[in-house]
C-alpha cells in the first residue's frame, strides 16, 4: 500500500474529510460524499469553520507541522473560551414552568447477628437454606419470637436521622402472596412505627443540585422495622430457585416527606443516608451490594399550581440499584409525566420500573393490579417497648458522626470538603483511619504541638488520597484493613513524609521511596536506611550556583524578559507566571536536578529578574 501523504492523513484525522481525487464525485457532482468520521468534540470547532466546503480550514493547514496533542489542546481551549462546550447536566435539574416533587422510601438491611423474629443467624453468602428457622418458612405451629438485639442498630439508625424514638410501637401484617414470602404476609410497622419525625441536612458538599443552594433539609416521616423476603434466582423455563436464608432478616424502611425538588438532590439524599447508616454500624452493605434499596415516588405540577398545596398524581419507581439510577430514573419519569400532561393527558398512579441504560421507565403494575394489603395488627406479637435508658445510652455512645468529622477535618487541618469526603468514602472508611494513623506518627516525628500550622496535615492528606491511589490499579489492591493499615505501613509513610516535610529529600525521591516500600524492597522501619544507602539525601546547591544557572538560562531569552519588563512598566496586567515557570524548567534541566528544589530556583530567578536582568535590559 502506498504511503499516504501527511497532510492528507491529518486532514482525515482532524476533520474526517477524505481526498476526492479520482472519486466519482469529481466527475459527477450530484453524488453526495459523506464524512467518514463524525466530528469529535475537540474537532467540532474546526469542522464548524469548514462548514460544507472542501477547502482546508486555515488552522489545520497552519498546524500541519505542530504536534497533534498541542493542536487538540488549543482547540479545546478555544471551544471552552467561546462558550460552545455543553456542560454536563447543566439544565437537567429543572424544567421551566414545572415543579418536580419526589418522595423516597429506603429499605436498609440491619447489621445484626440474628433475624428479626427468629434466632436463626443472619448471613450474606452462606450455602443456601442453611440458616432457616421454622418460623422463617411459616411451618404450621411456629410462632414469631422478637429478637430485642435488633433494636440496637435500628435505634442507632433512627437517632442518626434525628428521629424521635416512640416508647411503644407495634407490629402489623401486610398481606400479599408471593413465593418469596412463605407466610403470605410481611410483618411490618404500619400503624405505629418505632421512630417518627426525623430530619436529614444536606449541604452543597453532599452533591445536591445547585438550584437547591447551600443546604436543604429533608424531613423523615417515619422509620419502621420490617422483615426481608427470600432470595430468588431466576432460571430458564419459568423456574425459580429460592434461598430462604434472607427471609426474616431485619430491615428498616425510611420514608421521607415529599420535599425533594431536584433529581441530583434525591441521589445525594440516598448517598447521605447510606453514609450515615454505615457510620453508626446500622447498615454496612451499600446499594451496590444490595443491602440498601430505594423506591422513589415522582409527581410533577405546573409552576402556577405550587401555591395550592395539592401535588400531582404520583408514580412509584422500583428496582433502583445505584445512585446514578435514582437520578436518571427521576429525570426520565419527570420528562415522561410532563410530556403526558402537556399533550392534555392524565398521569396514572402506577408502579414503574427502571433498568440500567434505559431512557424511560416502564410500567410494572397499574392501578387495577394494585394490591390490597389489608393491614392488621399482628396478634402473635406484643408491643415493642423501648426503654428510655437504652435510647439515652445509644444516643450518647454514637461517636463522632460524619458531618462533624468532615467539619473537623476542614476546620482543624484545612482540608477541602471534597478531599475530606473522598478520604471518608474510600475503602469503606478505612482510608481515613490510615490517614489518622499516618498523621499521628508524622506529628510525633516532627515534634509538632497542637495549634501549629497544618501544612503537614495537607501533605499527609494529599499523599493518602492521590499518591497512594497511584500505586495500584484498584483501591482494593492496597489491602487496607479496617483499622487503617495497608501494604504501605503507616509508620513508613509517615517517615517518608517527615523527611519530605523537613526538605531532607525531594518529592521525586519521596515517590520512589513510596514505590520501594509498596513493593517490599524497603522493609518496615527501614526508610532512613534506604535513603542513606542510596545517598538520596537532598544536598541543595548553593545560592550562587542557582544564580549561575539563572544567568546561563536567561541567555538568548530577551523576548521572554521583555514580557517581565512590560509587566514592570505597567503595560501588562498579569505577572507572566507561565514564562517564569518555563525558565525554571530550563534551569532544572540545565543543572543537577536531584540537588535542586524548584521552589528555591523560582525564588532566586524571580529575585535576579527584578534585580539584575531587567535593569540590564532597561539600561541597554
Amino acid at each position: 500500500m502506498s504511503r499516504v501523504p501527511t497532510a492528507e492523513l491529518s486532514r482525515y484525522l482532524l476533520t474526517g474529510q477524505v481526498s476526492r481525487r479520482g472519486c466519482l464525485y469529481a466527475r459527477n457532482p450530484r453524488i453526495a460524499v459523506c464524512t467518514l468520521l463524525r466530528p469529535t468534540r475537540q474537532t467540532r470547532n474546526v469542522s464548524s469553520h469548514a462548514a460544507t466546503s472542501t477547502k482546508l480550514p486555515p488552522s489545520v493547514i497552519a498546524s500541519a507541522g505542530n504536534p497533534l496533542r498541542k493542536q487538540l489542546k488549543d482547540e479545546a481551549k478555544a471551544l471552552k473560551a467561546s462558550g460552545k462546550k455543553k456542560k454536563k447536566n447543566a439544565n437537567n435539574q429543572t424544567v421551566p414552568g414545572w415543579e418536580l416533587t419526589v418522595g423516597i422510601e429506603i429499605h436498609a438491611q440491619l447489621n445484626t447477628a440474628r433475624k428479626l423474629f427468629s434466632a436463626a443467624a443472619t448471613s450474606f453468602n452462606d450455602p443456601p437454606n442453611s440458616h432457616v428457622a421454622l418460623f422463617d418458612v411459616a411451618m404450621p405451629g411456629s410462632q414469631p419470637l422478637f429478637q430485642p438485639e435488633t433494636l440496637i442498630p435500628a435505634v442507632r439508625a433512627a437517632l442518626a436521622l434525628n428521629c424521635a424514638i416512640q416508647p411503644v410501637s407495634r407490629f402489623d401484617r401486610k398481606h400479599y402472596f408471593h413465593w418469596d414470602q412463605p407466610a403470605g404476609y410481611q410483618i411490618t410497622q404500619y400503624y405505629h412505627p418505632f421512630a417518627r419525625d426525623g430530619r436529614v441536612v444536606l449541604r452543597a458538599r453532599d452533591g445536591i443540585a445547585p438550584e437547591d443552594g447551600d443546604r436543604v433539609e429533608i424531613d423523615i416521616k417515619q422509620v419502621q422495622m420490617e422483615q426481608d423476603t427470600a432470595k430468588t434466582t431466576a432460571q430458564p423455563g419459568n423456574v425459580h430457585w429460592l434461598d430462604f436464608n434472607r427471609v426474616g432478616l431485619p430491615l428498616i424502611e425510611i420514608i421521607t416527606q415529599p420535599q425533594i425538588h431536584h433529581p441530583a438532590t434525591a441521589a445525594a439524599f440516598v448517598r447521605k443516608v447510606q453514609m450515615l447508616l454505615s457510620s453508626v454500624d446500622a447498615c454496612v452493605s451499600g446499594m451496590e451490594a444490595g443491602g440498601l434499596r430505594a423506591d422513589v415516588n415522582v409527581s410533577v405540577r405546573r409552576a402556577e399550581d405550587v401555591g395550592t398545596g395539592r401535588l400531582g398524581t404520583r408514580t412509584e419507581i422500583k428496582n433502583l440499584s445505584s445512585f446514578k439510577a435514582v437520578e436518571d430514573a427521576i429525570i426520565a419519569e419527570r420528562d415522561r409525566q410532563i410530556a403526558v400532561l402537556e399533550t392534555g393527558g392524565m398521569v396514572e398512579g402506577e408502579t414503574r420500573g427502571w433498568s440500567l441504560g434505559s431512557t424511560e421507565t416502564r410500567r410494572l403494575r397499574g392501578k387495577e393490579g394494585e394490591v390490597d394489603y389489608r393491614y392488621m395488627p399482628d396478634p402473635d406479637l406484643g408491643p415493642v417497648v423501648i426503654g428510655e435508658d437504652l435510647v439515652a445510652h445509644l444516643a450518647s455512645s454514637m461517636g463522632m458522626l460524619p458531618d462533624a468529622e468532615i467539619d473537623e477535618l476542614v476546620e482543624t487541618y484545612g482540608l477541602s470538603s471534597k478531599d475530606s469526603l473522598s478520604l471518608m468514602m474510600l475503602d469503606d472508611g478505612a482510608r481515613i483511619q490510615y490517614f489518622y494513623n499516618v498523621l499521628e506518627e508524622l506529628e510525633t516525628r516532627l515534634g509538632l504541638s497542637e495549634g501549629s500550622d497544618q501544612r503537614h496535615a495537607l501533605l499527609a492528606a494529599n499523599w493518602c488520597l492521590h499518591e497512594l491511589g497511584k500505586l495500584t490499579e484498584l483501591p482494593s489492591d492496597l489491602d487496607m484493613t479496617p483499622d487503617g493499615e495497608c501494604r504501605v505501613p503507616s509508620g513508613d509513610l509517615a517517615a517518608i513524609l517527615s523527611h519530605l516535610h523537613k526538605r531532607e529529600i525531594t518529592a521525586r525521591v519521596a515517590k520512589d521511596l513510596l514505590w520501594g516500600v509498596f513493593r517490599g524492597e524497603i522493609s518496615a522501619g527501614g526508610v532512613a536506611q534506604a535513603i542513606e544507602a542510596g545517598s538520596l539525601w537532598f544536598q541543595e546547591i548553593s545560592e550562587q550556583d542557582y544564580a549561575k544557572l539563572a544567568d546561563a538560562v536567561v541567555q538568548g531569552e530577551d523576548k521572554v524578559l521583555g514580557e517581565f519588563l512590560r509587566f514592570k512598566q505597567g503595560k501588562a496586567k498579569a505577572y507572566p507566571h507561565g514564562k517564569l515557570m518555563f525558565l525554571v524548567g530550563k534551569m532544572m534541566r540545565a543543572g543537577p536536578e536531584q540537588r535542586m528544589d524548584p521552589a528555591s530556583a523560582e525564588r532566586v530567578l524571580r529575585a535576579r529578574i527584578e534585580g539584575v536582568y531587567l535593569p540590564a535590559l532597561e539600561g541597554s
Binding site: 450474606f124 437454606n129 430457585w241 489518622y436
Partner: protein
C-alpha cells in the same frame, strides 16, 4: 324506625366483590352459581353479625391487638432496657478516632468459613417438605 332501618341497609356484596375477596385470600372461585349464592348468603349473615357487634359503644377504649400482660409489672417485663441488651452491647468494640461503636464481625463472615449452625433453631431438615428441589434450593415454577 323505618328510617333507621334504611340507614342500616347494608351495601350488597356483588359476585364481583366476592371474587375479589376470594382472590385476595388465594381461595378458589365458586364453581356453580348455587355455590356462589350460598357463599354470599353466609357472607351476608356474617356481616350482619359484625354490624351488630359494631353497635357497641367503644368510645375511649383502646382496640385490642394482642392479649398481653398490660399491668405495670407486665409492661416493665416487656420493656427492652439497657440491662436487657447489655450482653449484646458488650460484644461491640469502639474503633477509630471518631470512637464509633461497631459489632465485632465473627470470624465466620467474609472469611469464607460458614458459621456454626444454631442448635435447636437451624438444625432441622429444611428441604424435607419441599415438593421440588435442586441441590440446596427450593424450586418454584411460574407461568
Amino acid at each position: 324506625p323505618s328510617e333507621k332501618e334504611k340507614e342500616e341497609e347494608p351495601t350488597k356484596i356483588t359476585p364481583q366483590t366476592l371474587s375479589h375477596l376470594l382472590r385476595l385470600s388465594a381461595l378458589p372461585e365458586p364453581s356453580t352459581p348455587a355455590e356462589s349464592s350460598a357463599m354470599l348468603q353466609t357472607l351476608h349473615a356474617q356481616l350482619h353479625f359484625v354490624r351488630d357487634i359494631q353497635r357497641v359503644d367503644t368510645t375511649g377504649v383502646e382496640p385490642l391487638s394482642s392479649i398481653r400482660d398490660e399491668t405495670p409489672e407486665g409492661i416493665r417485663e416487656a420493656t427492652v432496657a439497657l440491662a436487657t441488651l447489655q450482653h449484646a452491647l458488650a460484644e461491640e468494640e469502639v474503633y477509630g478516632r471518631c470512637k464509633r461503636p461497631r459489632r465485632m464481625r465473627s470470624k465466620g463472615t467474609g472469611g469464607g468459613a460458614v458459621r456454626k449452625v444454631e442448635e435447636g433453631v437451624e438444625d432441622w431438615d429444611v428441604l424435607g417438605c419441599a415438593a421440588e428441589t435442586v441441590g440446596r434450593y427450593f424450586v418454584v415454577r411460574s407461568g
